[in-house]
Structure formats: structure tokens, C-alpha cells
């Protein structure tokens, strides 16, 4: 890895705006996330957190401004092209391959990064390294005993774990997780946090999260988004003490 690449932030947003018709959802967001950082984006409902994810990952085009991933502009790139830059995301509403087995789900997450592309001459059963990698990841996700089950039949928490598994399978350096613990029980949240912590080791993690214990437990830095604008972006301690944040967001939680 060259030093220039190291210096470039993992993700940089400059004056990013997103309008749907006349409604402006994201209003001039500037954000720089450096390599190896665990970054949380918080904010009240409708603040535009998921929209921001959709812009970064290329699901929606931006209306104005610029986004760079590893110093490369993502303008006019399709989602799969952004993914190939080493950015992978999960979805708030579970997005897996329901009619394929759990193992196949993970293997699909691995295929492109392992260079198989659109191959129709390699037999998957013979790809030892690929299958071992998929099984190892299943082990980490604690889904090994569900290996041959159709993904659509998993429990909710298991599907969320699989969602994270598909996201990280390709070995992306930048991982975007959209509310990974939403709808989970306490114990499920705990194991999800442990999982996220271990899989994001040495990588750049950006996550949208509502559970404050998860946010303050995991994040190195927190960005607060309110009505499509960044009102603060700082270390957790500073965010806790920030008056504007307390008023706009944390205050409403305390009340």
C-alpha cells in the first residue's frame, strides 16, 4: 500500500446534497472518515442517515457535491463498481438471498473478490480455498450449524448475522452497516456487537445505529446528522458534552 493511499481518507464527502423532487434530504454534508476508524452516524428519525449510506454506496446518485472512496471519485459509478473499490454495505431491512442456503449466501459474497467473476467453467464444489473461506466465516458468524438451511428460514437475529457476513465476506476495507442491531434482544445485541468488533478489526467501519450503548461502546468518532446536516462530528466524549447535540438529539432521548 502506498503512502499516498494511506494519507487519503477512506471516505470523503464534500458538500453532498440529495434532493428527491423538491425535498432536500441531504443538505451539504461534509465528512471525512480516515482509515481504520470506527465511525457512527446518529441522528433522529428522518435525519437522512440511511440516505447518506445510499449515496456513499451508490444506490442513489448524488444531486451535487462529491464523494471519494480512497481518494477516487465515485461519481457515475454503479453500486457494483463502488463495491469493487473495497466498499461493502449492509441494509437496514435484511437483504439476503432467501432461496439459497446460508453457505451459498456467504459464498456469493466471496465470489467476486476471489476473482471468479462470471466464470461458468469453474465448478464451485472443487474450489477448496473458496469453500474453506466461506466455512470459516460461517464459524465466526456462529452459523455453522445452519450451513445448509435456506437463508429465508433463519431466525431474525440469524438473518442479521448473515447480512453482516455477506457484507464482510468479500474482505472490503470499508464496511458500512445500517442499523446492524435493530430489533434485536439484549443478548443478541451483545453478540452482534462482539461480532462487529471482531470483523471490523483493522478496517474502516461506518455504521448507522440507534442503540446508544452500541454507538458509544464501538465508535472512535461520532457524526450527528439532523435534517440532512452534520451538526457535530467528534470523539464520543466530546459528542456527549456538545450542547447542540444534546438539544437536538440526546436531549430528546433523555426527556
Amino acid at each position: 500500500m502506498s503512502t499516498i493511499a494511506l494519507q487519503a481518507p477512506a471516505i470523503e464527502l464534500r458538500d453532498v446534497c440529495k434532493r428527491f423532487g423538491r425535498t432536500e434530504i441531504i443538505r451539504g454534508v461534509n465528512l471525512s472518515i480516515s482509515r481504520g476508524e470506527r465511525h457512527a452516524i446518529i441522528g433522529p428519525n428522518g435525519a437522512g442517515k440511511t440516505t447518506l449510506f445510499n449515496l456513499i454506496s451508490g444506490r442513489f446518485p448524488i444531486s451535487s457535491g462529491s464523494i471519494t472512496v480512497d481518494g477516487k471519485s465515485t461519481a457515475n459509478l454503479a453500486p457494483q463498481e463502488i463495491n469493487r473499490l473495497g466498499l461493502s454495505r449492509s441494509f437496514q431491512i435484511t437483504s439476503i438471498f432467501p432461496r439459497m442456503t446460508v453457505f451459498e449466501n456467504i459464498r456469493c459474497g466471496l465470489l467476486w473478490s476471489q476473482g471468479y467473476r462470471y466464470s461458468f467453467w469453474n465448478l464451485l464444489g472443487r474450489q477448496k480455498a473458496l469453500n474453506e473461506a466461506a466455512d470459516q466465516l460461517l464459524e465466526r458468524l456462529k452459523l455453522s450449524d445452519r450451513r445448509n438451511l435456506l437463508a429465508g428460514l433463519l431466525s431474525y437475529a440469524e438473518q442479521r448475522a448473515l447480512e453482516i457476513g455477506i457484507t464482510i465476506a468479500g474482505g472490503a476495507e470499508i464496511i458500512l452497516l445500517d442499523e446492524p442491531t435493530a430489533g434485536m434482544s439484549h443478548s443478541e445485541t451483545d453478540s452482534a456487537v462482539a461480532l462487529i468488533r471482531s470483523v471490523s478489526e483493522g478496517k474502516t467501519l461506518i455504521m448507522v445505529e440507534h442503540d446508544m450503548s452500541v454507538v458509544f461502546g464501538l465508535a472512535d468518532r461520532i457524526t450527528v446528522l439532523v435534517y440532512g446536516e452534520v451538526i457535530a462530528s467528534d470523539a464520543p466524549a466530546a459528542i456527549r458534552g456538545n450542547a447542540a447535540v444534546q438539544e437536538a438529539y440526546l436531549g430528546t432521548v433523555a426527556a
Binding site: S57, R59, A78, P79, Q80, N83, R84, S88, R89, F91, S95, I96, F97, P98, R99, M100, E104, R107, C108, G109, L111, W112, S113, Y116, R117, Y118, S119, F120, W121, N122, L123, L124, G125, I166, T167, A169, G170
Partner: protein, 429 residues
């Protein structure tokens, strides 16, 4: 069962199926005259071609979730290409063994699969279905306009007897062609089966399930659709090449919407979920088409009704119904279903007979009368204008249905109890 399978090499079932299919025509062999039954050979050849066609269709529908209404275009273009290649070989312009004519069809199908695929795979779901339908119409009308390539309404006739065989066979008899067909059908089926286990095959499943997620693991769903479509064209084209060798003529009928519908019917009736579903469906559809059509004017109605019933009550098709029994079979509890099945059989038979009688009565009073045919059962002439047969048919249908409903309830209870018990046992172990 599992024990046996463990010791079986994976190709053994294929080998077994091949031998059985090779042997079946001999069951109808006329030993007195020393020749095969032409009808059986034609029927089985038709099944072979249509099975390849249906399997290639399932590469789109089952594997990639793409509902095409114009798949016959690929079969037909493959057939036309193969026909022209045969003409060229005959003219001495090129040299190609007869055995490789289907491959020429396949390459033609691949080429047109790529070209047409480029157009149609830009979209998915309903838009894809509509574009393929338009494409089918387009090629059908082109087939009547461009005489040079398509030969107009008369199509292109060939003579399959060439002197270029690799194994010294002239292919003068349907039996020889059937053997060639069987070899190619197996090559195509094995390759298609293997394709489902490749990265492309797996990602095709992924785009079927959730095309957006596939994008976020690095794949362009459009390219997945395109390659899958082109490969499907290759196999449909092989079917086309075989079609030419069997019938020695190819007309615009091969690219028509009716042919496309055939593949769709076979896949739906057989089931898109399992690899062998389309083959089962093809057997049923071709038997109805070629067998029942000899007996009844209303054969198309039976196909339609079967299609509707399957879509409504067994969306997984015949293969889906078989799969449903697998856990029970494995648990060794099929015996417990024997009695409920036996009890449901008589009312089901009565409903079926009542329905068939009703349809045939109607068909004989209309089309049959126009053709001057008389309706007779076991030598007894039936007066289709008298009320009695109608009353009997209706009564059988209604009473049978009521009885069947009663038995079905008992059957369902038994079924649920057995599957529940198996699930519980599975969860505990």
C-alpha cells in the same frame, strides 16, 4: 437409500437413465417385421428435443428468475443455423460431421443469445418478459419476410443423410437419429446441470433472489442476465440442431410464440425448482400433445387445465410434489400415507372421469359432430344429445368432488401429523 448413494459414483444415475432410454424403444420393437415403432421413436425424439429446450428455458426462469415469452427464438435460430450448415456441407462448401450439426445449432443459438440478450437483458422482471415477447413476435414476422435465411412459409428443408459421419452411420433411420439425439441430450443436460454449480450459475440464483444485493457484492446483474441468456441460447440451439436432424425441415413454427409457450408449460408443470422438473414437465406435455391428441380433440384443453391446476395448487410443479415427500421417505414413514392416498384415489378418479366425460361430450357435440365423428366408449355408441350421459358426467364430477374434499381433509390431517412428527424428531436429534 443414503447408504446406497454413498457407494454410487455420481454419474451412475445418468448412465442408468441413458441405458433405460436406449432400451425403451425395444419394448415397442416389431420383431416380426424387424423394425422399430416409428411412432414411439418420433415421440421419444420429440421429448428429447423439448426436454433440452425446457431445461435451457429453466436456466432463465428457475435459475435467474427471468420469465421469457420468446425463448423459441433461440431454439429456432439454432435450428435455422444448423439447417444452413447442413446445406453448406451438402454443397461441399464446408466439411462437418453429421454428429456435430447440433453443435452448429448450439453456436448459432449462442450467437443470437448474445445479440438478442444484449437487447432484452437490460431489464428484468415484467419489462424483461414484455421485451422477450416483442422479440418473439419480431423474429416470427422476420421469418416470413427474409426469404433467404428463413425460407418463408415453406421453411428450409434438408436431407440429413450425409457422407460425413465420424462413426460411419448414414442416419437414414429414425433409430440412428434417436441414438444421436440421446447422446446430445445427455451432453446438454449434464453441462446444464454442471452450469448450476459454477460461479455464474450461483450468482444467477442470487440475482433471482435479490438483484440489488448481488450488486453490493460486486456483480452487475445485467451482465449476469446476459451471460445466462447467451448460455441458455447455446443449449436451446443444440435443441434446434437436433430438431433439424429429426424433422429434416425447419419452419417459422420453431420461433413462434406457441413453441415458447411449450417451454413455459413444461417448466411450470414439471417445476422450476429442481433441475429435473422441466424434464418431467416435458414428458407430460409431449405425451398430452402427441398421445392424447390422437384420442381427443380437446387435448389442448387438458393441457390448459393441467397448467392452471398446477399453478394454483402445486406452484412447485411435479418435482415440488416429489420433493415434499422426500423427508417422509427418508424418515421411512411413507407407509403411513399409503392408506390416506388409497382412500383419496377413488374419488379423485371419479372426478377425473366425470370431467373427461363432460369435456368429451361437449367436444363431440361441437367439433366432433362437424368432423362426423361418433362418441363411443368400449364399443358402445353414446348419444351426446341425450341428457343421461351429461347427468352422469355432472353427477360424477360434483359427487366425486364432495367425496374428494372429505378425503382430502383426512389426508391433510395425516400429512400434517407425519411431517410434524418428523420435524420434532429432527429438532430433538
Amino acid at each position: 437409500m443414503t447408504l446406497l448413494r454413498r457407494h454410487w459414483p455420481s454419474y451412475l444415475p445418468w448412465l442408468l437413465a441413458f441405458v433405460i432410454l436406449l432400451a425403451i424403444p425395444f419394448l415397442f420393437y416389431d420383431w416380426g417385421k424387424g423394425r422399430h415403432s416409428g411412432f414411439v421413436l418420433t415421440l421419444m425424439s420429440e421429448i428429447g428435443v423439448m426436454a433440452i429446450f425446457a431445461l435451457s428455458y429453466n436456466m432463465l426462469m428457475g435459475q435467474a428468475g427471468l420469465l421469457s415469452f420468446g425463448h423459441a427464438v433461440l431454439l429456432g435460430m439454432g435450428a435455422y443455423c444448423a439447417a444452413h450448415v447442413v446445406l453448406l456441407v451438402k454443397a461441399g462448401t464446408i466439411w462437418l460431421p453429421t454428429e456435430l450439426v447440433p453443435l452448429a445449432g448450439g453456436l448459432g443459438g449462442l450467437f443470437f443469445g448474445f445479440v438478442f440478450g444484449w437487447l432484452v437483458t437490460k431489464q428484468r422482471a415484467t419489462a424483461f418478459a414484455m421485451i422477450t415477447m416483442g422479440l418473439g413476435e419480431l423474429v416470427s414476422s422476420a421469418a416470413l419476410m427474409f426469404m433467404g435465411f428463413f425460407g418463408g412459409e415453406g421453411g428450409i428443408s434438408i436431407d440429413r443423410v450425409m457422407d460425413t459421419s465420424l462413426v460411419g452411420v448414414k442416419y437414414t433411420s429414425p433409430w440412428q437419429v434417436y441414438c444421436l439425439l440421446l447422446v446430445w441430450a445427455f451432453i446438454a443436460a449434464v453441462l446444464m446441470k454442471l452450469q448450476t454449480q459454477t460461479p455464474l450459475g450461483s450468482i444467477a440464483n442470487a440475482t433471482r433472489d435479490n438483484f440489488e444485493r448481488a450488486q453490493f457484492v460486486g456483480y452487475d446483474p445485467r451482465m449476469v442476465r446476459l451471460y445466462q441468456f447467451a448460455l441458455s441460447g447455446f443449449f436451446a440451439g443444440i435443441g434446434g440442431g437436433l430438431y433439424v436432424l429429426i424433422y429434416e425441415i425447419v419452419t417459422f413454427d420453431t420461433v413462434s410464440a406457441g413453441k415458447s409457450a411449450n417451454a413455459l408449460l413444461a417448466v411450470y408443470i414439471g417445476g422450476a425448482g429442481g433441475f429435473f422438473g422441466p424434464i418431467l414437465g416435458t414428458i407430460v406435455v409431449v405425451l398430452l400433445q402427441s398421445g392424447v391428441s390422437l384420442l381427443s380433440n380437446a387435448w389442448l384443453l387438458y393441457v390448459g387445465i393441467l397448467f392452471i391446476v398446477m399453478v394454483m395448487y402445486a406452484p412447485g410443479g411435479l418435482i415440488g410434489l416429489l420433493f415434499m415427500h422426500m423427508p417422509i421417505w427418508r424418515a421411512g414413514r411413507m407407509r403411513e400415507l399409503l392408506l390416506p392416498y388409497a382412500r383419496a384415489f377413488p374419488p379423485a378418479l371419479i372426478v377425473l372421469l366425470g370431467f373427461v366425460l363432460l369435456v368429451e361430450l361437449a367436444s363431440f357435440t361441437t367439433i366432433g359432430a362437424a368432423q362426423g365423428k361418433k362418441f363411443s366408449i368400449g364399443g358402445h355408441l353414446i348419444d351426446t344429445t341425450a341428457p343421461l350421459p351429461w347427468v352422469i358426467a355432472l353427477a360424477a364430477l360434483v359427487l366425486g368432488a364432495l367425496w374428494l374434499r372429505r378425503e382430502a381433509r383426512g389426508f391433510r390431517e395425516r400429512w400434517d401429523a407425519v411431517t410434524e412428527a418428523i420435524k420434532l424428531k429432527g429438532a430433538m436429534s
